[in-house]
């Protein structure tokens, strides 16, 4: 294990940011800390980096107890949401900063910075000031600056949060490819479940200062540990006392299926390739998303009676506090 967080708690005044959090992050992987804003994921990252100290618990990095080490001795690279560029230094001097602090020979620094400039595709911007770069370029510079000192772990705090949607998407694909090239243990914080599912090898879901679940993107999506994870990772709808993904809701015409719940089609909305059908079962409105082809094959319109059931094998989670009613099949895992 590359990073070993054990029993970490942190309070800011009355606010509990982290509550007895334990996480093991394996070497060489790209791990996402995913959760809503204010859930404690950034605090956890900053405690790993030494930018914040835990009230209780320990942090180990590469087998070394780092709990009391200051940030500058932890051997971590940190990338901030708002770049934290050294405004008065050129791109080259920004990237060289960590090496200059370590008093490496001048020609070694030059060589290493040239390599990194090529890695982040900023060769032609070496002599510019950060203010002359776009947001995406600044963040790539910040990444090169963090990688320059060959950190044991690379930590990124909402690295693409300040960028617009298009650049964001490009950069996260680029980060994935970069990680496959460089293989440094990387942890990034995000509140965007799509970003986490797309980029990460492993996801740690953090909410209200606690870890809700740890797993691969597939595990999290297919076997959510609880309703929070289920809701956070994608759209959900409720059928009886079960949470289910709208695309795992199957509709059939008529009300003759004894294992299903009967309802009336209340609304049909088509968005591109997807058709969203709202079915009223009397006590609740269930959302089903179908492809256009499926919808046409179904051959129903608003007001028609349909049977609603969960596709066998689909992930479902019971709504907390409810007892699953009989008559509705809970698919086996």
């Amino acid at each position: 294990m590359s990073i070993e967080v054990t029993g970490v708690s942190k309070r800011f005044g009355d606010f509990v940011a982290l509550q007895d959090v334990s996480v093991s992050i394996p070497s060489g992987q790209l791990t996402a800390l995913l959760g809503p804003s204010g859930g404690g994921k950034s605090t956890l990252l900053r405690i790993i980096a030494g930018l914040e100290y835990a009230d209780a618990g320990t942090v180990g990095i590469e087998g070394l107890d780092a709990t009391a080490l200051p940030a500058r001795k932890r051997g971590v690279g940190f990338v901030f949401q708002h770049y934290a560029a050294f405004k008065h230094l050129t791109v080259r001097r920004n990237i060289a900063f960590g090496l200059e602090i370590r008093k490496r020979p001048k020609d070694e620094i030059r060589r290493r910075v040239d390599e990194l400039l090529a890695l982040v595709h900023l060769e032609q911007f070496a002599e510019r000031l950060p203010a002359q770069l776009s947001g995406g370029q600044r963040q790539r510079m910040a990444l090169a600056r963090a990688l320059a000192v060959e950190p044991k772990v690379l930590l990124l705090d909402e690295p693409f949060g300040a960028l617009d949607a298009k650049v964001r998407k490009e950069l996260r694909e680029w980060l994935r490819r970069l990680h496959d090239e460089v293989h440094v243990t990387t942890v990034f914080v995000t509140h965007d479940q799509e970003e986490a599912l797309e980029v990460a090898d492993e996801i740690v879901v953090v909410n209200e200062g606690r870890v809700e679940q740890i797993g691969t993107p597939d595990q999290l999506y297919d076997e959510p540990a609880n309703d929070f994870v289920m809701r956070f990772l994608g759209p959900v709808t409720q059928l009886g006392d079960l949470l289910v993904r709208p695309h795992d809701v199957a509709l059939s015409p008529g009300a003759d299926d004894p294992d299903a719940v009967a309802g009336r089609v209340a609304r049909v909305v088509r968005v591109g390739f997807e058709v969203r059908v709202e079915v009223s079962t009397g006590e609740q409105v269930v959302l089903a998303t179908l492809t256009r082809t499926e919808f046409l094959r179904l051959g129903v319109g608003v007001g028609a009676t349909v049977s609603v059931r969960v596709v066998p094998g689909a992930p479902v989670v019971a709504v907390p506090g409810s007892v699953v009613r009989s008559g509705l099949e809970v698919p086996a895992r």
Binding site: G50, P70, K73, G77, A84, H88, F97, I101, R145, A146
Partner: protein
């Protein structure tokens, strides 16, 4: 010039600004220089190399420079404490910082005289010494560097310091290479104000320094006595020298500031 086009509005604005600046600054300054030049080069040279005048210029400029150096260090430190630390009485200190600046200078002189004069309750009598001049300069110039550095320091992005720390920089290295370059323009501006105020100081020191010729007499006192003796040429000559020195100091500060700002 053809590449620079002003709109009607900005042309009018520039005209008003130039007129204002000319009336208040350029014309009076030119008048001083003209008066100084009226006595010819010999007259000017004689006026400024007069033993008593030269001593006053040396004392004033030397003390103002020294005070400016002290202010650069202490002012930055005080600004740091005010911005970065939280302590009881902070708001009060925040307000008190401006007192030396807001106080009528003759009142400041009285305060200093009663505290450090012959009847000093502290047993510290610096009356009629050069230390009195130094003290008076320090007192009135205290707020300048504090007030110019404070807002810039408050606006500094703390994440930049955290980034430097994660890259292995110690607190000292971070200050020298990251924080200081960002503060340099503000420190230089404060230093320029502090020097200018020192050179022109009169009210706060006349009571305590004793205005002893060759020892504690400063240029402003010297200029006043020249005028009282109806020697306007002498006064203008000294004023011209001060003007040149002040200008040189401001230019020098700007050069230093640019150097520090680019270094890191």
């Amino acid at each position: 010039m053809s590449s620079v086009r002003l709109t009607r509005g900005s042309g009018l604005g520039l005209g008003v600004a130039l007129l204002w600046f000319s009336l208040l600054v350029l014309i009076p300054l030119a008048a001083v220089v003209a008066t100084a030049a009226a006595g010819g080069w010999d007259g000017f040279w004689q006026a400024v190399t007069n033993e008593q005048t030269a001593a006053a210029i040396r004392l004033t400029v030397g003390t103002a420079l020294l005070v400016t150096v002290v202010n650069v260090v202490m002012g930055t430190l005080i600004a740091w404490v005010l911005v970065r630390d939280r302590f009881p009485g902070q708001r009060a200190l925040e307000v008190l910082i401006d007192v030396p600046f807001a106080l009528p200078t003759i009142v400041a002189g009285l305060v200093l005289l009663s505290l450090y004069g012959p009847d000093s309750p502290l047993g510290l009598d610096v009356a009629n010494t050069r230390a009195a001049v130094f003290l008076a300069f320090l007192f009135v110039t205290l707020p300048f560097v504090v007030r110019t550095v404070q807002p810039v320091l408050a606006e500094l992005d703390r994440e930049v310091e955290e980034a430097a720390a994660s890259l292995g920089a110690s607190r000292l290295a971070t200050f020298r290479r990251i924080i200081l370059p960002a503060l340099a323009p503000a420190i230089a501006a404060g230093a320029a104000l502090s020097f200018a105020r020192g050179v022109s100081e009169y009210g706060s020191l006349v009571l305590l320094s004793g205005n002893l010729p060759l020892r504690t007499e400063v240029t402003s006192v010297r200029i006043l006595s020249s005028i009282e003796n109806d020697n306007l040429g002498n006064a203008a000559a000294v004023a011209t020298v001060l003007l040149a020195i002040s200008f040189a100091v401001i230019v020098a500060l700007d050069v230093i500031q640019r150097r520090v700002g680019r270094r890191g």
